[in-house]
Amino acid sequence: MEIPYTVTARPDTGLWNAKVGIWLFLASEVMLFGGLFSSYIFLRLGADYPWPMHELGVLLGFINTIILIASSVFVVYAWVALKMRQWRRFQFWMALVLLCAGGFLVIKSFEYRGKFAHYHARLSDDSIVSGHLDHDLGKKAKSILFDASHVVLNASSGSHFFLKYLENRDDIRFTAGGEELDLDRAWFANVKDGLRLRTKADQLAADGKQAAADKIYQRLEEDYKVLDLFDGSGQLKVALSQPGKFVVPRSKVLDWTDDTLNFTRALSTTLEGKLESAVLKLEIDELDLREYLRRDDPRERAVADAEIFKHFDDEADGTKLLADFNHHRDPKVEAWEEAVSEWKAKNPDKVYEEKPFHDFERVYLKDLHADTHEGEVHAASGGGAHEDHPTVTIPFEEVEFFSNFGPRKNPFYAIYFTMTGLHGLHVLGGMLVLGYFMVRGRRLYLKNPEHMANRVEVGGLFWHFVDLVWIFLFPIFYLM
């Protein structure tokens, strides 16, 4: 079937069909990204915390902007080449477009990796530290270490994933009710299925369908003997032949005491034994006391009283930082503190909620990086230790919130990853389409070069739109 109006204009619209199609599609894209930009405005205006500014690497964002602009120029060059019936030249420019797009994504992945390797902890008094995990400890630096003598399994969850947190798994034998157990995936899948079957059989028996129920009971007897080991509440206590050395990321732990540890509900398993340690070890690169000082009258909450200063491994590091804070206090800070105190005196019943995001407030934000962005790339490439950075050891019970600089850190990172991630997917989609034209387009080109040129124009329009979105994303996330 011949598709009409691929080259010639339709009389009523005055356009070839694909042109109308792509503009309608781009209109829907404008609404999609428009909705997200609108969300950004909402989140930023409604933020109840200092909006992160200059936290993203400007250099990388800048390079990516240049790359996308260059690719936009190359894509129109490619289109002109087709219009001039120069296939090889078209391929050359298109290859450059794809190279740029690939470069953009590689740089973006470096940025993302840097964010995911960078951590942030808010203490119970709202003092905040950021940094990288202790280099020597690696993941142990954000984990709870527990020596387990028993594991209480919950069959209804069918989970065996806790085993991946057991360091000396190969040395340990598991027993329950005098029987040795093989805690592999299949065994647990069976338990889960078995419990479901047993419930079904019980239901059938209750409904008077005894024959059908017996059939299932018989099957359970033959294939699911392990079920008998579970007690009435669907739990099974398993003994370990020697203490199991568990290293469990804090994010996988619901709660813990000195002799028990509960995994999150999804894992639904409890360890019994002895808690070894539950501390967070960070090599810090930023100390943020703005939230800490905002809660109360600044004059009643001295910088020196912030919890974080109790947790420096080397006390001298904390003392030096404190001295830096005091050294950099300037008259504007004093004036602000004075103003807040007066406000509080006049409004004793109200909670102080003004958002003092003025520049001088950055005094309370201490960046320990010579160059934050260089540090991010450094971390992303799995580089060496930050020897010059102070280290802190914070008990997890004093950590109110802990995460990496991923989407869950705060709404800024949520909207940053949403918008740049969606944009990145558009780059990838554009690459696929334009790459297809470059590699597989020759047949159509030979048959109907103008049709091919129109296809490239449509692909190019999409590509320009992707560039256009980035032109706004760059300043709002990286510069302001």
Binding site: G14, L45, S72
Partner: protein, 101 residues
């Protein structure tokens, strides 16, 4: 749109100039934001967005050929931009909290 080789060559030149202008304005955006702050945050944001809008305009009008399109495309875009712009000012509804007295 004229498709003669001479015309197309002329377009190539335009695209190159626009590309260079865009890169130049990217330098200006970063330069203003990093090294030439006005002192007023609102003004800094306005300048940044103004430059971005200018750059976006260049891409839309020159690269995407909106400087000489058929009326139907403009109709689609006016309709879309009306609603997109509406979305940008929705936050005004949130400024007045209906619950507080």
């Amino acid at each position: 749109m004229a498709d003669s080789p001479e015309e197309l060559q002329k377009h190539m030149k335009t695209y190159t100039i626009v590309g260079i202008t865009l890169i130049l304005f990217t330098f200006i955006t970063v330069g203003v934001a990093e090294f030439a702050k006005t002192g007023s945050f609102a003004l800094d944001v306005a300048i940044g967005l103004l430059i971005a809008t200018f750059k976006a305009g260049l891409v839309a009008f020159i690269f995407m050929h909106l400087n000489h399109e058929k009326p139907m495309i403009y109709r689609i875009l006016v309709f879309t931009l009306f609603f997109a712009a509406g979305g940008m000012v929705l936050f005004i509804l949130a400024l007045k909290d209906p619950i507080s007295l």
